[in-house]
């Protein structure tokens, strides 16, 4: 795939990729931007190559997911080092501006999602937010279809229960 075609594909999926990056960074918008930039850089430098086995969107989401996890690990390591006080790193929680900008319903949804296990959260986001099939969600999350289906069913049941318990 030529660099121009790659850029066009990335531009088309940019909004969706940003939404997925936010989900991968536990709602932290700054960390999501960071992860997305690092993902684009990986793709444009050829360190992440699209081999055509999955759809471009599925592959891009997998790259963003892995990159966000790498950045999270690095940030966690930096927090352990003494020089961390000099470095403004994210702690993995949504920043205050993001929380304030959210509507109440979205805030409740995000709070409920945050209580679910990571795999369930990922599969629910990919299916409901990104409109992927469970099979595609399984490919992005790197799990089997059966596992993804289990996460989906359990996550959905837990999320509905949590949202019902929340006062409207």
């Amino acid at each position: 795939m030529s660099p121009e075609t790659l850029e066009l594909e990335l531009a088309c999926l940019h909004a969706a990729a940003f939404g997925w990056a936010i989900a991968c960074c536990a709602g932290d918008r700054a960390a999501a931007e960071d992860a997305l930039q690092a993902s684009y850089l990986k793709i444009l430098d050829g360190r992440a190559r699209f081999d055509g086995h999955a759809s471009f969107r599925t592959w891009l989401f997998a790259v963003v997911r892995n990159t966000a996890a790498e950045l999270w690990r690095r940030a966690a390591l930096r927090r352990l080092l003494p020089l961390a006080v000099l470095d403004d790193t994210s702690d993995g929680r949504p920043d205050a501006a993001t929380v304030l900008a959210r509507a109440d319903a979205s805030r409740r949804l995000l709070a409920a999602l945050a209580t679910l296990p990571r795999r369930q959260r990922e599969v629910l986001h990919l299916v409901f937010y990104q409109d992927l099939t469970i099979s595609e969600a399984a490919a992005v999350a790197g799990v089997s279809l059966g596992t993804a289906r289990t996460h989906y069913e359990r996550g959905k049941a837990a999320l509905k229960k949590l949202l019902k318990e929340e006062p409207e």
Binding site: A11, E33, Q37, A38, Y40, L41, A101, R102, S106, K156
Partner: protein, 118 residues
């Protein structure tokens, strides 16, 4: 198939997606920031390498300084030769004959003297 069969959850996620879409940074800006990050990356790598080199050097110096004196614990094997109290029993009369190369036409006097002993 049970995918997206819950309209209430779908509506909530759709609203969330609309909010995120409104706050998505422009693609060009994200790409420009990614390229700027590429330019800044070698500095980061150099910094990490320098930090790693400092750590390795520190560990090496610490090991050298804290290492126990190896000369004090060594034993010269050449100076220590233990002899058992019954070693003399292994010395047989005429065992020189077995250790030396015989020469034709020469008489070994030590053998002769051994034979004369009762």
């Amino acid at each position: 198939m049970t995918e997206r069969n819950d309209s209430e959850l779908s509506d909530r996620f759709r609203a969330l997606r609309r909010e995120d879409a409104a706050a998505t940074p422009p693609f060009d800006a994200t790409l420009a920031a990614a390229r700027a990050r590429r330019a800044a990356r070698p500095r980061h790598r150099t910094g990490w390498l320098a930090a790693a080199a400092v750590v390795v050097a520190g560990v090496a110096v610490a090991l050298l300084l804290t290492r126990p004196d190896r000369q004090a614990g060594t034993i010269g094997l050449a100076t220590v030769r233990w002899e058992g109290p019954t070693d003399f029993l292994l010395v047989l009369p005429g065992d020189d004959l077995l250790r030396t190369v015989p020469h034709l036409g020469r008489v070994n006097l030590s053998i002769l003297s051994d034979r004369r002993t009762p």
